[in-house]
Structures are given as structure tokens and as C-alpha cells.
């Protein structure tokens, strides 16, 4: 079964593709609550909790392109893992931080490193969905 290379991944902010994007990452979590009780045999058990996500993406600065987001801005991200247009996460998000790296001595390409947090349920499409098709983290 062929594996997916990340070289064709893309990022959309609302409906617009953002380029050039160097990388993106997404972490989905569940705030599982633990407890011990008379029937847990000295071990912790857990119940599934509220779902959340966070992530980061890095965009290379261009001479003619504007910074694509502001801190505190709410956006809808579409994080594609390949060029099929079928396999992506749809993430309502809010921008937490924007870090701009300028390496004067080495002359590296200026980059915007953007951290975001989830602002609603994440919808996974295609192979990213556990069941195939689309599934929401709120379901």
C-alpha cells in the first residue's frame, strides 16, 4: 500500500490557497478525565472528554504578498496532505501567535511561523477520516 509523501501538501486560509507554505502540523486531543473508585482496582480509569486541536504552519514571506493572518483572527483552515483534493482537515481556528524569523547573518528566507488553536470541531476528509468519507471531531 503506497504511503503519502508530504511534498504535495497545501494550505488554504478560508477559500484562498496560501503559498509558499513550508509546513503545517495539526494535533488533535481529547481532554480525558481520570478517576479512581471502588471498582477500578487501584488503577485510574478515564472517560473521553472535550475534543480540541492546535497546530502550526510556516509561510515564507514574499516581496509582494501580505501577511496572510493577524493574531486573534478567526479563520477556517484546510490542511491538505496531498494534491488529490480529497484528503484534508477542515479546521475552524483562531490565530494565537505569529512569529517572524529574520536571520540577518545567514540570510535565510524570512518566514512567518503561525500557531493556532481550534475554534470548533475538526472535520477530517478522505483517508484522514477514521471511517473514510468525512467525520467531525464533534461526532
Amino acid at each position: 500500500m503506497p504511503v503519502i509523501s508530504g511534498k504535495d501538501g497545501t494550505l488554504y486560509l478560508n477559500t484562498n490557497e496560501v503559498a509558499p507554505v513550508a509546513n503545517w502540523r495539526l494535533k488533535k486531543t481529547s481532554s480525558n478525565k481520570h478517576y479512581t473508585a471502588n471498582d477500578t482496582g487501584g488503577c485510574r480509569k478515564r472517560v473521553a472528554g472535550a475534543r480540541d486541536c492546535s497546530g502550526r504552519f510556516e509561510i515564507k514571506a514574499t516581496e509582494t504578498g501580505n501577511t496572510p493572518v493577524d493574531e486573534g483572527e478567526t479563520v477556517t483552515l484546510k490542511l491538505h496532505v496531498d494534491e488529490s483534493n480529497n484528503n484534508y482537515y477542515e479546521v475552524p481556528a483562531i490565530i494565537d501567535t505569529i512569529r517572524t524569523d529574520v536571520d540577518i547573518s545567514e540570510g535565510k528566507i524570512v518566514a512567518y511561523v503561525v500557531d493556532f488553536s481550534g475554534n470548533g470541531p475538526v472535520v477530517a476528509h478522505g483517508v484522514l477520516s477514521k471511517t473514510g468519507g468525512s467525520t467531525s471531531s464533534g461526532s
Binding site: S31, K33, Y35, T36, A37, N38, D39, T40, V47, A48, G49, A50, G138
Partner: protein, 282 residues
């Protein structure tokens, strides 16, 4: 008990104090079982005649008196639309409610020489003391070592009269005897009461509080009453006798004597038994 529950680690927390033994237990139950669990822990007011509230394991005089629920995972309510304040409520289906149950010592009857408690109810007792001061005229008094020596007219003789408050709290009352409370307030005991002679105990009044039960499915919530009766004892002990609320000091001849208006004393004597009988069986 039919509702499935777990007792959380860290529970129970127990305390011994002047109030007796108290404890708190914490449980996890299914969110949907809250009302049913409340019935099992606190009982229902209509189940009168038997034990209405669960007792603490191993302690037959300690009972569940308060129950509080909170969502075990408050960050994870169900997704739902709430159309109005009276049309919906947050729910946590498939998750737990944390039930916090407080227990308290409630003896069926604290004083064996006190009034009887009706079946399914409990009578607890507390006592507080204070004192009154009575100025006595020196007329009629003499010096014990030499009665021929005159007692000055301006000699201040002050008698300290102990006053005791007796608090009888009647728990789990479904039908309080409101008419009896109204009728007997301000009267004194016609016969011995709490081992005190007749006319030494004055019924001052009552505090009444509700203790809500379960049964919230339809209509008004059921509840029982907790009624605290306050009696004030005034016992003047003199010459081997005990004088109460209707006795006053007389100068000549000196002594404590009952005062009347020709027919009735200042405080009317009455039988306090009906204060401890439900209105339904009066």
C-alpha cells in the same frame, strides 16, 4: 439500592465534632440517573412510616441529609439547542454526574425522658443556659447568726435565677401541627416536661425549615419539615421547692407565691404533647 454507582477515591471524609459524627461521600452515577439516585438516598416524603433516608454504613444514627450533583466533566456538555430557559437544560449523556452526599448524626430520640417521636421522625435535643437576676426586698429576712440584728432596708439582695433553653428539633415531619404551635406558644407545661416540674417550662416558639425530597417529575417537589421548638425553663429553687413562671416573690409574708387575677395565672398551663403529633392524626 438499584441505581448503579461508584464511590470515588478520596471518599469518604469523616468528622467527629460536638455536632456528632458527620461525613461526606462522593459518587459517580450515570447522568440520566440523578433523580432516581436522589430518591434512593434521600427518600420520598410520601414513604412516611419507615426510614426515609439512607443511613451511613455501619452507623445506624447517621443519615444522608444533603445531596448535590455536578457534571463530572463540565467541559463536555452535549451538543443541543436550548430554545428557552424552561425548555432545555445542559446534559451530559453517556457521562457521569458526581454526587456529593452529606451525612449527619440524627438520633431517633435524644432524651429518653422527653416526648415520644412518631414513627419515621426524629427528635434531637440541645441545651443552652443563661440567667436572670431578681432583686429581693430585704423585708422579712433576718441574719442567721443573730435574728435580732436589723437587716438594713437598703440592703440589695439579688437572686440569680438560672434560665435554661431547651431546643427540641423534630426532623422528617410531613404534616406539622401548625395549629398546636400557634395555640401553645406562650404557655407553660401543665405537667412534668423534660424532667422539669409543672409551670417551669415556657414554650417560646418554633423555627420551621423545609427539607426537600425527590419526586421532581411532576408538580411541586415533595418535602419534609424540620421544626425546632424552643422552650425556656425558669426554675427558682428555694426552701426545697421549685417555683416557675407563675410564681413571684412576695415581701410579706416573704416567699415565692403563685400570682393570679382571681381565676387565671399569668401564664396558662397546657399539655405540650400535641406539639409532637402530626396534624394528620390530631
Amino acid at each position: 439500592m438499584s441505581i448503579s454507582f461508584k464511590e470515588l477515591g478520596g471518599s469518604p471524609v469523616e468528622q467527629y465534632s460536638l455536632e456528632g459524627f458527620t461525613a461526606r461521600r462522593e459518587f459517580l452515577i450515570a447522568w440520566e440517573d440523578r433523580d432516581a439516585f436522589a430518591v434512593e438516598v434521600l427518600g420520598m416524603a410520601t414513604e412516611h412510616g419507615g426510614r426515609t433516608w439512607v443511613n451511613y454504613p455501619g452507623k445506624t444514627s447517621v443519615f444522608a441529609v444533603k445531596l448535590r450533583y455536578e457534571p463530572f466533566d463540565p467541559d463536555n456538555p452535549d451538543l443541543k439547542s436550548l430554545a428557552g430557559l424552561t425548555e432545555g437544560l445542559n446534559s451530559y449523556s453517556g457521562s457521569f454526574a458526581k454526587a456529593i452526599v452529606d451525612y449527619q448524626t440524627v438520633n431517633q430520640r435524644d432524651r429518653d425522658d422527653g416526648p415520644d417521636n412518631e414513627t419515621g421522625t426524629y427528635l434531637t435535643y440541645r441545651m443552652l443556659f443563661s440567667a436572670d437576676y431578681q432583686t429581693i426586698s430585704p423585708r422579712g429576712w433576718m441574719w442567721d447568726d443573730d435574728p435580732s440584728i436589723t437587716v438594713p432596708d437598703d440592703l440589695e439582695i439579688i437572686k440569680r435565677i438560672p434560665v435554661t433553653e431547651h431546643h427540641l428539633t423534630w426532623h422528617q415531619v410531613v404534616d406539622p401541627p401548625w395549629a398546636a404551635v400557634h395555640d401553645l406558644q406562650g404557655k407553660v407545661n401543665s405537667a412534668e416536661f423534660l424532667a422539669c416540674p409543672a409551670e417551669t417550662i415556657l414554650f417560646e416558639g418554633a423555627d420551621a425549615n423545609k427539607l426537600f425530597r425527590s419526586g421532581f417529575d411532576a408538580g411541586a417537589s415533595e418535602f419534609c419539615w424540620q421544626i425546632r421548638y424552643v422552650f425556656r425553663e425558669r426554675s427558682v429553687k428555694h426552701g426545697g421547692q421549685v417555683y416557675g413562671w407563675n410564681h413571684f416573690y412576695r415581701e410579706d409574708p416573704p416567699g415565692w407565691v403563685k400570682l393570679t387575677n382571681g381565676t387565671d395565672p399569668l401564664y396558662e398551663p397546657a399539655d405540650f404533647t400535641t406539639l409532637f403529633q402530626s396534624a394528620a392524626i390530631e
